[in-house]
Each structure stands twice: as structure tokens, then as C-alpha cells.
Symmetry: C2
Subunit: 466 residues, 2 copies
Amino acid sequence: MSFISIKSALTDSAVVGSRIGVRGWIRTRRDSKAGLSFLHLNDGSCFDPIQIVAPAELENYEDEVKNLTSGCAVECHGLLVESSGRGQSVEIQADSVRVVGWVQDPDTYPIQPKRHSFEFLRDVAHLRPRTNTFGAVTRVRNAVASAIHRYFQERGYYWITTPIITTSDAEGAGEMFRVSTLDLANLPATPEGSVDFSRDFFGRETFLTVSGQLNVEGYCLALSKVYTFGPTFRAENSNTPRHLAEFWMVEPEIAFADLEDLAACAEDFLKYVARETLEHCESDMAFFARQIEPEAINRLQHLVDQPFIAIDYSEAISILQKSKRSFEFAAQWGLDLQTEHERYLTEKHFKAPVIIKNYPAEIKAFYMRLNDDQKTVAAMDVLAPGIGEIIGGSQREERLDVLERRMREDGLDTETYDWYLDLRRYGSVPHAGFGLGFERLVGYITGIANIRDVIPYPRVPGRADF
Amino acid sequence: MSFISIKSALTDSAVVGSRIGVRGWIRTRRDSKAGLSFLHLNDGSCFDPIQIVAPAELENYEDEVKNLTSGCAVECHGLLVESSGRGQSVEIQADSVRVVGWVQDPDTYPIQPKRHSFEFLRDVAHLRPRTNTFGAVTRVRNAVASAIHRYFQERGYYWITTPIITTSDAEGAGEMFRVSTLDLANLPATPEGSVDFSRDFFGRETFLTVSGQLNVEGYCLALSKVYTFGPTFRAENSNTPRHLAEFWMVEPEIAFADLEDLAACAEDFLKYVARETLEHCESDMAFFARQIEPEAINRLQHLVDQPFIAIDYSEAISILQKSKRSFEFAAQWGLDLQTEHERYLTEKHFKAPVIIKNYPAEIKAFYMRLNDDQKTVAAMDVLAPGIGEIIGGSQREERLDVLERRMREDGLDTETYDWYLDLRRYGSVPHAGFGLGFERLVGYITGIANIRDVIPYPRVPGRADF
């Protein structure tokens, strides 16, 4: 007798009326005065548990079934029938309930069928997948990640991995973690007295990558449409609920594309991911709307339905200045936009997602394409109501002379980046790409405020600084 | 006028006879005595280039078209027609060829339309995506990765990420890289004189993960079917063509599963990935069979067609001992199998993929389930002809008392692993999982002997030890 997932039992109408087997972990047990027990069983395949009706006639009813507690693992067989009870459409009339794994000392089992604080769950990170919240987070993460891959695969993009341990600091995008096998108690020294990295694993200083973008450009200028989806690292002590030291990033890079093409891709991509998540995670999203963020579903639906507004940075500054709002940070041409500005634009002024384009060159990276005004670069940020920036991207500087000048102005060593300049020496074409932080998107979708609660395990259990 | 991919132009019969635009990079130019030029254009969307027939009537024919060299980027428009020439089914009769990016100094451009050595290409890693070989490797990597995700997604598995920076050494599976932001020139010390890791970024010693398995078990025992697909790291100085310091690993973990279930899954999974790759990368695989490994397609087809042989480790030892072969390493019960043994079994004895099960407990990890004979554990390796071990896995020890005993025997600190023991205290069920190295699989599929040539970028350009 084979088993089916609880998701199949609950949603596949073809199995109603047949004898099935399911297995999973007990959420709750309720004993009826009529001499039977109702077990709610969850196997993680979907949000909802299935109801098992366990009659007193079961041979292990008194000894085992009546001792089942939250977290016990069982295998059940029985007839799947339409349920007359409230809250479920089908239930299983069990003819066998086999206990596979008991819960030792049920009174101290951390995951009780009640609401736990996120802080508490961070300390039992290995057990929190068994809660409604983390089950739902896991399924949403999976749906979002699948949608990301599907979006690009269906459109002819090739997935690229770029080195995670790297000798370059990419674009100076952030503080880096050192990777080393040197014995710290016994560091090798050069004759000049500094650390001798030629004795390290790779024969030189190495770090964890902050972005695969520069590397992926080489693939873009050969395979036309590529994307990365992998982990990146920032060793910044910005101990805020919106930053992670380790996070997964999606970075598409498109050849023969300009900023307009990129903006269109970003909008299409976000709408696709939002639509797919709403479709594939209906019960999970309903849970988040019920328990975490009442607007979770509405704002995702708005993201799908509303055309994004596109304005220039200069116009954004002008709107902010005319708003007469007293912002903590001044809105002034030449300064970066702050979260308060971004949220004003999306939530108050436009009440829609906004793409801001053409930022001042001084506040953006050297590889972004210089516009004809010589003051701005072809960069864009996509802002969404309720979160602010969710995507950042740019058209890349494809002109060798301009790129070299910008690098010198930024004080970069053109020798180190000679390989990157090569890409402009040989068959250079306009190209553009963006970056999206996976966990930030999942945090936005689920409405979970602290981003460390959308990753499967905190880096260091219970700690805030990861 | 919009553009289509060269893949569409070559394979979508609906566009034959219509005017289309394509863009990409010139592979070759051949001028005909009849006063026209044949350009072969590649955009990476597929292996084959498309032939552009550029007539002398083009206004930039003499000045530009006749100066095009390998690597130049162009946009072409023209009529897509059936070709009478050899080697292609369709070609474009160009009415415009616009040069988007020239190649500076064509004579020194490293990627000439000829065969380059892998060593040479490692030094121009940023340009090697433009070669036939690395284009094909990239598309095969993409097809394999997509097939991996699709296999598990279609079967209800959820994708999990486990921490890459970790405080645990997992299972002692290998040497680890340290991750740190401490200033090496000025290391903080404890009063006892050792390095004070409480001052490091995470407040304690951290490393790069060697495996997500232990973490993913927590998810398996809540969501039933899960898998990881992410990077892992080994700081071993095994400078061989078969080992990487950084590689992507696939690790499914299945609840309510034993070793038989796992072996069935591994076989089904490998056949699926092989079948999908053959289907989606026909031209790329034909190239590998032509240029790299004549058996590339045949052996992948055999993997799909042949039922895997399953034998116990003890039987494998017996076969090896009876073989009368003189192996470099003795085949003896209690010792691990060497590559020479694995290859004898798959290539000489069975001439088929072989799953070897139930290894001696002493040579396997503490978390593998102890068999009733108290001597062997429910571990398995999947061996394939032409490579040897490609998958390693096991049923996990789900019994608290046995696991604790095994950990003590291995000298492990049960306090450190208390969270892992918790998973056996609360609703423990039989579960099993395997690990597969993504790059090793891609190396096997493409027939590329040195695994550093199946990753997009070597860690350190030109170096052997990455």
C-alpha cells in the first residue's frame, strides 16, 4: 500500500472514496466524547493538515493513539471521504494508525500548537520548520526560486555560476569576508613583515564575492542572455532587519539591451514572480495575510496589476522637494534617495511601483553607462510600495575610452580590471543587467519584517548579527 | 523591427521566408569570388552559427563588411531562406549588416576560429565563453541544472538553502576554509593568548560549509521531501583534475525513506538528468562526442537505458578478489573502494552503472544507519562507467540511542550536535539522502577530463589549484 502526499489527498478529487495512506507529523489531537479521536496530520507538502478520524476500535487506540502529542510521526491508512466537519473538505476514516516516532517528554517539546515569537524560534532553528510560519516561508521561498529560474529559462537565458571565493573585490560594492586556510596562530610573513598570502590556499588573498556581475558580463557578451542565482556576501555591520551578511542574489545580464529594455524586463520579471507565487502558494499567502501582514496578498496583486511608473531621478527629486514633507534626510539633486523618499514616492505620491532612472554619476558605480548629459548614468532602481528598493540595475558602459576614464576618476587600478576592459576591446555591445536580493523579495512577499526570519537557518542560532 | 535568437532562426520553420533580424558575434567571414561575403554569426543561443549572405550591394560592404573579423558584433536584417549550401538548412540574405562592436587589433585577439588548448583558455577565462567548447559547456551546465530543479520540483520536493558561512564543521567531511573579518596584521587575543574569535564578525569562529546535509535533515523531518542545490567548499590540497575547492552540490533528503527508496530515487534521477540533457543539448553533445570524448553520447544513452546493478559492498569485494586483477590497492573487506575498483566493477565486470550498498561502518560517517549485522551501515555509492562514484548517500540513523553511541565512538561532542539529536527526540522517522557534485556530473557528461574546465571561471585565472 503506497502513500500519497497530504497535498494530493486534499486537492486531488480523484482519490476521494478510495483507501489511501498518508504520513507526517501530528499537529493536534482532540478526543471526542463519542469515543474517537481527531488527529490533524501535516507532512509539509502543503499548508493545511488533513483530519484523521481514529475510531476507538483501532487495536492501539488506548495505548498509543490516545497518547499522541504534537510532533509525533505517524503513518495512517483509511478511507478518504468528504467531511461533514467544519474547516476541511475531506478527512480520512482511519483503519490503521502506526506510530513511527514519538515525542520524548512532550511537555518540554518546543514546538507546541500555538503561536511562538520569532525570537524564540531563532533559538530552536532546527525545529522551526515544523511551525506553520516556517513551513509557509519554505514553500514560498521554493515557489519564488522556481519562478525565477522558470522566468529566465522560458526566455532563453542561461544560468551561470560565478566564483564565490574570489581574488577580486568586484566593484568595491561592500565590505568583504576574507577566506583563508592560514594558521592564525602562526601566520607566515613576507621579508617586509606583512602577511605572506602566497602561502595561503590559492597563493594569494581571497574573499567571498559581493557580486557576480563583472564576471557574468563576459558570458553575456558571448551567450547574449544569462543570469546568476547564487549566494553573495557583505561583511557590513549594518545590523538592521533588512540586511544579511549572506544572501542569494539574482543577476540577469542582457546583451544588445539598453536601460529601457532592462526596465521592461524588470517589470515583467517581478510581475511574473508575484503572479506565480500567488498562484502556487494560495494557502501560504492566506496565512501570511492572516497572521503577519494583512496587505500581503493585496500588495502582491497590485504589483501584478499596476503598470509601473517610470521617472527620471531628477523628476523624483523635484517631486520630493515639492511635496512639502519634512524628511529626515534632504531630497537634493546629487544625493542618494533614502528609504523614506522611496516610500513617499511609491506609497503616497504614485501609489504604484516606480522605476527611477538616470541617477547622478557621482553616486553610482564606474561601470554604469554615462549619459549624453555627462552628469547622469543609465542606472535604475525599482521601488515597490511597502519596501522601497527591490531591484537595482544599469546599462553598462560599453565604450572602452569612457570606461577607462571613469575607472581612473574613481581611482581604480585599470591593470586589475584589464580583463574587464578586454570585453570592450573585442566586439563590445550595449548591455544591461540588474540585481535582486532573493531574501529581500521573500521578506516583502511574506510580510516578515526581519529578513533573518526568511532564511532557513540563522547563521548563528539566536544571534542578531548574521 | 525586432530581433530573434539564432536558435529560433535555425529551428523555427515558421519564420522561413520572412524578413528577420539577428545579432551576435562573427565567427568567420569568407569572401566569394562572386562578389559577396558569407558571415557565420553566433549569439550563444545554440551551438550552430547562422550563415549570413552579405551582397556587395550593401552600402557598407567595402568599408565595413569586408573588414569584419572573428569576434566583431553585428546586427543583420534580411530574408531567411532555405540554403542550398552545404552545412546549413537556412541562411539569411542580408539587406543590412550594422557593425555594433569592432575587434581592436584582430591579429592579437585571443579567440581565433581554431582549436585552443584548455591551458591557453584558462588564461583568457573572460573570453573563453566565446569558444565552441565553453559555449557548449555553458548550455550543458544550464540544461543539467534545470533538469535537477525540474526533477525535484515535479515530484514535490522543496528547495532549501543551508548556511554557507557556518559555525559547525558538519560531519568532519573535509578540510574547511576559515571566514573572517579580523585584521590579520592585528589579531585580537584572549587573556590566554589564543585568537579571540568573539571579536570576529559573527562573534565566533566561522567556516565555509562542506555540506548542508545535517541542516537539511531538519527540513526533511518537517516538509518530507527537500533538496539543496548550492555551493560547498573543501580546502583539501588534492590537486587533481577531479576535485574542486568550490563546487555546487545537490542534496535531496527524503522522509519515510530507506536505502532501497534512496537507491531507486538516485537511479531515476540520474536517468532523468541524462535524458533531458541529451534531448535539450543535441548539438552541444554532438560537439563533445566529436571533439572531446567519442563516447560522450553513447555512455549517457547507456545510463538512460541500462537498469542499474545493485550489490552489497561485501559482494563487490568478493568479485574484485575473484577477478585475479592486480590492483594497485588491495580489495579487502573493511577498506574503501578505490577508483580502479569502481571502474573494474562498472566497466569490466558489469558493464553497467552499479549501486554498491551496505559499507563497513568503520569507513563511513556517524550519521549513517547501522544495519542489524552491527558491522555495516545503510550507505550507498552509485558508480558509473567512465567515471566511478557519482553519487554517495545513506539512510540516516534515526534512533537516538544508536546515534548517540556512534557519535561517542567517533569522539564527537554530543553537546555540539544536541540540535541534531533533537531531531531524533521528536517525531523521528526513517529518512535518507544523497549528495551529487554538479561539476563532476557535468565533467562526466561533457567528457572534459579536467573539472576546472567545466566551471565558468577558474578561481584564480591560469592556476591549477583552485
